[in-house]
Symmetry: C2
Subunit: 458 residues, 2 copies
Amino acid sequence: MSQSAGTRRGHLRLGAFLYPAGHHIAAWRHPHANANAGSDFRHYVELARIAQAAKFDLVFLADGSGTRGDNVDFLSRTAHSYVAQFEPITLLSALAAVTDRIGLVGTASTTFNEPYHIARKFASLDHISGGRAGWNLVTSSSEHEARNFGFDEHLAHATRYERAAEFAEVVEGLWDSWDDDAFLHDKAAGRFFDPAKRHVLAHRGEFFKVRGPLNVARAPQGRPVLVQAGSSEAGKALAARTAEVIFTAQQRLEDAVAFYADVKGRMAQYGRDPDDLKIMPGVMPIVGRTEAEAREKFEALQALIDPAVGLAMVSTLTGGFDLSGYPLDGPIPELPETNASKSRQALTLTLARRENLTLRQLYLRVAGARGHWQLVGTPNQIVDALEERFVNYGADGYNVMPALLPDSLTDFVELVLPELRRRGLFRSEYEGRTLREHLGLKRPGSRQVREAALEPGV
Amino acid sequence: MSQSAGTRRGHLRLGAFLYPAGHHIAAWRHPHANANAGSDFRHYVELARIAQAAKFDLVFLADGSGTRGDNVDFLSRTAHSYVAQFEPITLLSALAAVTDRIGLVGTASTTFNEPYHIARKFASLDHISGGRAGWNLVTSSSEHEARNFGFDEHLAHATRYERAAEFAEVVEGLWDSWDDDAFLHDKAAGRFFDPAKRHVLAHRGEFFKVRGPLNVARAPQGRPVLVQAGSSEAGKALAARTAEVIFTAQQRLEDAVAFYADVKGRMAQYGRDPDDLKIMPGVMPIVGRTEAEAREKFEALQALIDPAVGLAMVSTLTGGFDLSGYPLDGPIPELPETNASKSRQALTLTLARRENLTLRQLYLRVAGARGHWQLVGTPNQIVDALEERFVNYGADGYNVMPALLPDSLTDFVELVLPELRRRGLFRSEYEGRTLREHLGLKRPGSRQVREAALEPGV
């Protein structure tokens, strides 16, 4: 593909999705892995610095407010069930102090949180980091989280999304509590702020009653960047209305292109421009100088997958249905529709049916990248695939999920980035200082400023 | 006073209580002040580094989940109503990355939070900081906070403390989710943790139902240090049962000694040793090389107090009763008992009645240090007062509240600490690495380890 194909669309946005020892389900067992990575702050400092030196737009942290699952034998065999790792807001705040350019995006659920706390913490992180904060809004679909917050089971899918939509509205409203120039700091007159530039939200909705104002000054970015991940109908509608970045999971080009067109097509009805939202699918690249080297790296990780863990991962991806009674080399059984994450469930089952996989084949296919797109090959092969999806409007960039950390991140930086740059598909230097500037997103005016601009004669 | 008097009791513990431009109500208006301190991360980095270089035990941050008050004209005249400052957990996490020895204590309310979130964030901070985290447990007494969390008014005092006690129990239980040696990281056998060393809390109480386990490994300190501030009956009972540090506000030696004896005397009934709790009253020292210099520094700040702010501060300290209709130079009116913080209310009114103060005299007396103990004098005078209270068992140390930052902190380090050290009352080097080690607090075994130790024959 020619260089002009890439540059017609500008360049890719890249996130470094950090997961303790790496995204591959068996990464922690690899000889190079730091098995204690989830509790090792120095590990994350090293990763954030590698990603920043390579000019990634952002680092990204997932989250769960509880360990995933009740089967203790299974849990004890994996480092992928949030049994012991840093809480994202504390970790990102600490990373803010030892980095100066890279964006810091953390996940926080709308299901068991209060919007005032979330608005406040991400606004605070935006100040600490000088305008580099992003909030990945999710809903919690696991009973294991619900049980840590007074519930016996999790909320129904539709209710979760209604709550999430109102939650986002409250958080955005709180972020508009103060105009940019509200704080006068006028020592002589004794005026700390201008009362006319303080806005009381006084929200009263179905789920929340929040007065405000937020007790943090307007964020350097105006508002922290709002990120979302859901691919269900409700998730896409919410994203079209509010999200500025979407992380998705599509295996195939045509699915990615359809998703991209679908979500961007919905934005006009909310008065939004398609460029106000960057779609960044997850991808787990395993790169070698030769195809054989890449394959060897991949198989070294695959060989470490404990069958009990692989099977449980498939069970999680398909809605929590217990698969342990079914033969590993038999077909995938019919599964009931559940209340869990619909997008991941549909994705996994579609893959299995399309390729007529056995349970074992399915777990070897999806356990590694946990349902995300994986690419195993040379730098040219990987860049070809990334470029193809980009120029065909299936992605504005990627959330890179290193299989093994730091090795796979370093490989990506040393082998893939030079080829992306050669084709004009990625930056060599940051163009700005804030996450919004990296992503090419406008700095939003506050609600009050926007409303004033709409008033005739003003 | 002789050196031996101090050393018989070991040495003082010192906290640096950081408040944006300083604790004096008018600090932000001082020519040396950084009026934007509450949103300036570099300001806090500088303060934390000064405190660490001086071997303070900890830095301390107060908190409020909302601005304090509805009177916008008043709010706009002060930097002391939490209108715009960092959220403590994010700020302390960031400071953890740029310090390596000093303790990091942050306030978080039990009234509008979930114990799982609080347990997780402070455990995470303890890992990030290598064992330097402390949680200051408070209850929220302001309607302005309640209204940000779906309530029209705040909870009754008694209910707040019942909820706080159960909240603390849940948090401590969650911190005991994993034994110290639970994580095996056995790559060959594929065992990430030992299932026998994971503990499900399964708490079901009056206010909370929390299953656990926490998804953070056991904290480096075993548990983060638990700090409390309440001086009411309910507050003292809770502190005697669970607190490891208490911040108090007593104006006079005899009150401090009585409080100290009262709280420490209650500990035996909970099976605790008096040394398991350090009592550290707040003190605002203004020091000069001469008395005249100290007085001059103090008056420079006092002269900046806006009468409207002073009056409103007295109103806040006495329970929120509106005093604006009363003559400034008249007596303090009779005030109704309110649902607000009883300890501060009683303290302020006792002072006013004892000295027969007018409203103006009262605000000039209490507005500066906001009801805390203030000392204005030479290094010798200040150290005499600190030593007197220490050797008479009125304090185990102090939470130092610099009037103006960084000036008053630097003054304390340069003028007061050398005299404290000369008398053997303060360290010249850290003895350990964790906050518990600084404070001389034992590292707690987990609940399971303690219970096993009590079983006969084990």
